[in-house]
């Protein structure tokens, strides 16, 4: 499978496709926390780094197979997520933002000083087990499960927390439990994404998982349209490709990126697909077709 793909797709494009896939997994995780449930988490890269390091250490020091590493990465990240989430998610407001920023910074500093994590040098020589097939297979599974979740009763409960936490609670939604559950799934996906990232680049360093990385993932979620899976996919694709496309402006790349964020937010404050609904598209399409048919009948 992988050989076949490599035969047809240029290595450069293949690399971008794999990165899009990894970013999608990270962004879908954060979408569940911030986009769907409305809890602002700004330390996604921290959970990602926990996954990346767990996976890399298991592979390097214990010779574990990739599947075990991947699962362990997800579980470790989710467990830390629950530990962070239970005390903070009981509170309303932006506390989660601050706590997750702080947590991610602490994690980064700890990895910078931890012997087993290679300190500032990071870890290298991680087995390159991530490839296109694995990443996109996981993406498809996660998108399907995620879509199923959001259409189910618990999914609607999550949306209701975002819309009005008080009303949700009054309607019998155990808000704390749902928020923690969303946080656990989201951080699990962050761990998986981190593991894939580590086994793709084969080299990780604490600086890869700084505040800017968290912000990057958050941008993907908000830019596409909060809480919508097609929106998250679009935002991720656009923001993963954007640095590549903007390569021609070289040093001005980040300048454009920053300006782009501001401009996009001013013109599409709910994200690119944030307030687009299928039913509206269908309706306007029907109206458009109806008008054309009416015109052709007049002509005839």
């Amino acid at each position: 499978m992988e050989a076949l793909i490599q035969q047809y797709i240029d290595i450069y494009y293949l690399q971008i496709l794999v990165l899009i896939g990894i970013n999608l997994i990270l962004a879908l995780g954060l979408n569940l926390i911030t986009g769907v449930t409305g809890q602002l988490s700004m330390g996604h890269a921290g959970f990602m780094s926990i996954g990346a390091y767990t996976s890399a250490i298991l592979a390097l020091n214990f010779g574990m197979p990739f599947g075990v590493c991947l699962l362990a990465a997800g579980i470790t990240a989710a467990v830390t997520g629950i530990i962070i989430g239970i005390p903070t998610l009981r509170l309303e407001g932006d506390y989660l933002a601050m706590v997750t920023i702080g947590f991610a910074e602490i994690v980064r500093v700890v990895f910078l000083n931890l012997e087993i994590a290679g300190r500032g040098l990071g870890l290298s020589g991680i087995p390159a087990s991530t490839n296109f097939t694995v990443v996109w297979l996981l993406v498809i599974i996660i998108v399907l499960l995620n879509t199923g979740l959001l259409k189910s009763r618990p999914g609607r409960a999550l949306y209701s927390i975002r819309e009005d936490e008080l009303a949700a609670e009054a309607s019998g939604v155990n808000t704390t439990r749902y928020k923690v559950a969303a946080f656990a799934i989201g951080t699990f996906l962050a761990g998986i994404g981190g593991s894939l990232y580590a086994h793709y680049l084969t080299y990780i360093n604490p600086q890869d998982f700084g505040f800017m990385k968290s912000v990057e993932i958050l941008n993907m979620v908000v830019l596409g349209g909060m809480g919508s899976i097609p929106g998250t996919i679009l935002g991720t694709v656009v923001l993963t490709i954007a640095p590549e496309v903007l390569r021609f402006v070289q040093d001005y790349r980040l300048l454009f990126y920053g300006a782009l964020l501001v401009i996009l937010m001013i013109f599409r404050p709910n994200g690119l697909l944030g307030d687009v609904r299928w039913i509206d598209i269908k309706r306007s399409w029907a109206r458009f077709r109806g008008r054309r048919e009416a015109r052709s009948s007049v002509d005839g």
Binding site: T88, M98, V99, I101, G102, L254, L255, L260, L261, M265
Partner: protein
Amino acid sequence: MFWQQLVNGLTLGSTYALIALGYTMVYGIVQLINFAHGEIYMFGAFAGLFLVLTFKINIFLAILGAMIFCMLLGMTVERVAYRPLRGSSRLSALISAIGVSIFLSTLMVLVRGPNVTSYPAEVMEIATYNLGAIEVSSLQVMILVTAGLLMLGLEVLVHRTKIGKAMRACSQDLDAARLMGIHVDRVISFTFALGSALAAAGGVMVGVYYNAVQPYMGVMAGLKAFAAAVLGGIGSIPGAMLGGLALGIMENLGIAYLSSSYKDAIAFGILILVLLVRPQGLLGRATTKKV
């Protein structure tokens, strides 16, 4: 040792407090975590450096110049990137703020290069005073006094003037304030100007104190100052002052008694611990939500 670290911590903490005030005032009125605030502080440090290098003026004039420059910068940022988003969700304003932050730091990298530059030594004569076991430099005294005066001025402004009263009204209830005839947009603009000016003063003083100015200095300082604002209770002005000082002192004591390699983790660790016990921050008021 302890007293020495206390003095160093107070100096560092008073600069955190100056930056934290900007976060807390803006958050208090528009509930926006203004992530570009750290970059305003960085621009302040560079503006001061520019003034010192070009006009050979002394440090106080440089602080004043940087404050005026950043006032304008802060108001421009608010006008361009935040005001159009006033009615939309808070997250879109947050992303816009992040965009501004990336834009401004990249702009400075393009203008000045990514390297560390330092203030010329003649910007201020540094004397060291020995008070028993502790050493205090004239620079530390200058920072403490300037920061103290600025904060005092802010207190007076917020509690004794008409615009201060308008700011307090806006932070209580924006809609009610508008109905009472307060020009809300102007108050918000003024709040940004005020916060930016304080951050600029902090920037120049930190630049001189550590003898280092670089385009990415705003990121960590901004995060820590935001942590200080949350620690003190976000939205509360005395809270930001207390939070900044507390954070600076604890960070310095942590470096002295624990380990310097965990420097950045200490501040955030303390913050998380405090939030677990007192989620509204040290001086924040717990609000009960009414339907």
